[in-house]
């Protein structure tokens, strides 16, 4: 299969189908509706089921049901709809059910608008729902990367029995780029002996639940969840470093903003400013290593976000006081331009005594 030109939302859908997801439950919301529409056309072709749920809440709970049976299943939404899924997501974590949940972020808070944003960073990384948990969050920056990370998302979900979030901004969902779906060498297969599919011949009754009335019992469950999170932190950190080796300044950005920032960096490099980029690909677990490796050399980090400043907290935690952390952000659906970011670089580079 050669390259095709597709919308980001459609790429997510096709990539999911490509890695064996045959079940999708979702509810329309701009700017991710193409994903839902694509699934409606595509899944019947592979003998799967697309179901438009009556709400995001129903969708996430249908996902819970389907995931209980052990199949690969997905839902997707955008900010307000994602907020509605918080209880369900917490249940998926508690019951340890694998699923992939997509959030194509738009301007908030409230109804906001339908322009691109990254202001759900906190919501997706810090456990927007109740209880002690973390969820792996993957943030692709290009349509080709969507293909890779959608595959990774399903694998991680199965491997650790956990929901995984795929986060993109509205821009990523709406844009078109050439992508290629390569044959997967060998599909990771996970035994799902825990699945509730009826007991015939399988040793019988199994229970999927997140309830544990006994406090000690629930604490045990929680520590075992925490162990799992620690394992994920060990194994599933993803990031890209760009020209950080000699950098005086390091920009930090993810998703499409990282691409815009890269343009600005290229321009700054041309003008002799030593600036690099750390692009977190997994937002949780947040990549601490590239910061630890650089934080004693660089003059400053600059977190660039389509938000009023959320990821900057994780940057500051990773830098832990070793260097100043600055911020440039646009919010409410405004996308920062490379010119603005370049200006910011210039200001900082000028403002800090070299």
């Amino acid at each position: 299969m050669g390259k095709v030109l597709m919308k980001g939302n459609e790429v997510i859908a096709e990539a999911a189908v490509h890695v064996g997801c045959k079940y999708f439950f979702g509810y329309p919301i701009t700017p991710q509706s193409e994903l839902v529409a694509y699934m409606a056309r595509r899944l019947p072709e592979v003998g799967g089921i697309f179901l438009q749920a009556e709400s995001e809440i129903a969708a996430i709970n249908m996902v819970y049901g389907a995931a209980s049976t052990g199949v690969r299943v997905m839902t997707s939404s955008s900010s307000p709809g994602f907020s509605l899924k918080q209880e369900g997501i917490s249940y998926l974590v508690g019951a340890e059910l694998p699923a992939v949940i997509c959030n194509i972020v738009r301007g908030g808070p409230g109804l906001g608008n339908i322009q691109p944003a990254q202001s759900d960073y906190f919501q997706v990384t810090k456990g927007g729902g109740h209880g002690d948990y973390n969820i792996p969050v993957l943030a692709p920056a290009s349509l080709q990367e969507i293909v890779e990370l959608t595959e990774a998302a399903f694998d991680i979900a199965d491997r650790y029995r956990t929901p995984v979030i795929l986060m993109g901004d509205g821009m990523l969902g709406q844009m078109m780029e050439p992508v290629e779906f390569k044959e997967r060498s060998e599909q990771e297969k996970t035994e799902k002996a825990w699945a509730t599919t009826g007991t015939r011949g399988d040793g019988g009754p199994r229970i999927i639940t997140s309830l544990e009335l006994d406090a000690e019992g629930l604490e045990k469950r929680n520590w075992s969840l925490q162990q799992k999170f620690a394992l994920i932190k060990e194994n599933e950190v993803r990031y890209e470093s760009y020209q950080t080796e000699d950098a005086d300044y390091i920009m930090v950005a993810f998703g499409t903003v990282a691409r815009i920032t890269m343009n600005a960096i290229n321009k700054a490099r041309k003008n002799g400013i030593k600036v690099g980029l750390i692009r977190p690909i997994s937002l949780w677990p947040f990549p601490e290593k590239p910061f630890i490796e650089t934080r004693d050399q660089v003059k400053a980090y600059i977190s660039v976000e389509m938000s009023a400043g959320q990821m900057i907290e994780d940057v500051r935690l990773a830098v832990n006081g070793h260097a100043p952390v600055d911020f440039y952000g646009r919010t409410g659906g405004v996308v920062p331009t490379q010119e603005e970011i370049y200006e910011k670089i210039i200001t900082i580079a000028g403002g800090v005594s070299v």
Binding site: A59, Y64, T197, G198, T199, I208
Partner: protein, 251 residues
């Protein structure tokens, strides 16, 4: 003298003693569902969905695969299961708070979709588990923790008649209201439950049995008085009978 077994505990239930209060009819309804599954020989092909309410732990009592749903969302969870496993039997077991209050949307849409699942709806006119608050099915005048002066139609509205409402949906294939307040009614209730699973077996669509049930603890009545209260106070408001029957045949 040889003895023939007239009644013994069904293999559809586990051996775990229930946590229900003395005399609570949740136990009777559990037994009937479990017996039907055993009698239809579909225990091994069934996935039950427990809801949030006193029956949340029903997953420990039904002797089949069980999954536990968030408050009110059991029909959505059941939909997820059934769409993946159309050849299995899927049922939900939900209280009136769970189904008629927070979960009314999920049950209506499951019915509207003609989702081929069976809903066991246990209406005890109150929130049992959380300590006796008003349910949508609480009777006018009934005192609860949140209607300390008795439910007043002008403030809290009138009871929702779920069967009547759901029967207006084309996707609803079998809808019946039964009661658990005495042995003849219990026998009728079991027939209705069997009918509902048969409807599912035939793939006719959504089936629901509403069972009028007790909550001695939160009603402040003893178990026997509670059965009386179902008969005298609930049945007149919630007429028993079949509201939809695509399966046909006698009841």
């Amino acid at each position: 003298m040889t003895m023939k077994t007239v009644f013994k505990k069904t293999s559809g239930l586990t051996d775990k003693p229930t946590h229900y209060c003395p005399g609570c009819t949740h136990g009777i309804i559990h037994r009937m569902v479990a017996e039907v599954l055993e009698e239809m020989d579909i225990l091994e092909d069934t996935i039950g969905v427990a809801s949030v309410g006193c029956s949340v732990l029903s997953y420990e009592y039904f002797n089949c695969d069980m999954t536990q749903a968030a408050h009110g969302r059991a029909p959505a969870v059941a939909t997820g299961v059934k769409r993946v496993l159309p050849n299995r039997f899927v049922f939900t077991y939900q209280g009136d708070g769970d189904l008629a209050s927070i979960g009314i949307s999920e049950v209506i849409h499951a019915a509207a979709r003609g989702e081929n699942i069976t809903v066991i709806f246990v209406n005890n006119a109150i929130y049992g588990m959380t300590g006796g608050q008003m349910a949508p099915t609480t009777l006018i005048g009934q005192k609860t923790a949140t209607t300390p002066f008795g439910r007043d139609a002008s403030l809290q509205g009138s009871p929702i008649k779920v069967c009547e409402m759901i029967a207006t949906l084309d996707g609803a294939a079998y809808i019946e209201r039964v009661s658990s307040h005495d042995v003849p009614h219990i026998q009728k209730a079991k027939k209705a439950i069997r009918k509902a699973f048969k409807t599912q077996k035939k793939g006719l669509g959504f089936s629901m049995v509403e069972v009028l049930s007790t909550c001695p603890t939160n009603w402040g009545l003893d178990p026997a008085e509670s059965l009386e209260w179902v008969k005298d106070s609930m049945v007149p408001v919630y007429p028993l009978g079949v509201y939809k029957n695509k399966e046909g045949g006698e009841n």
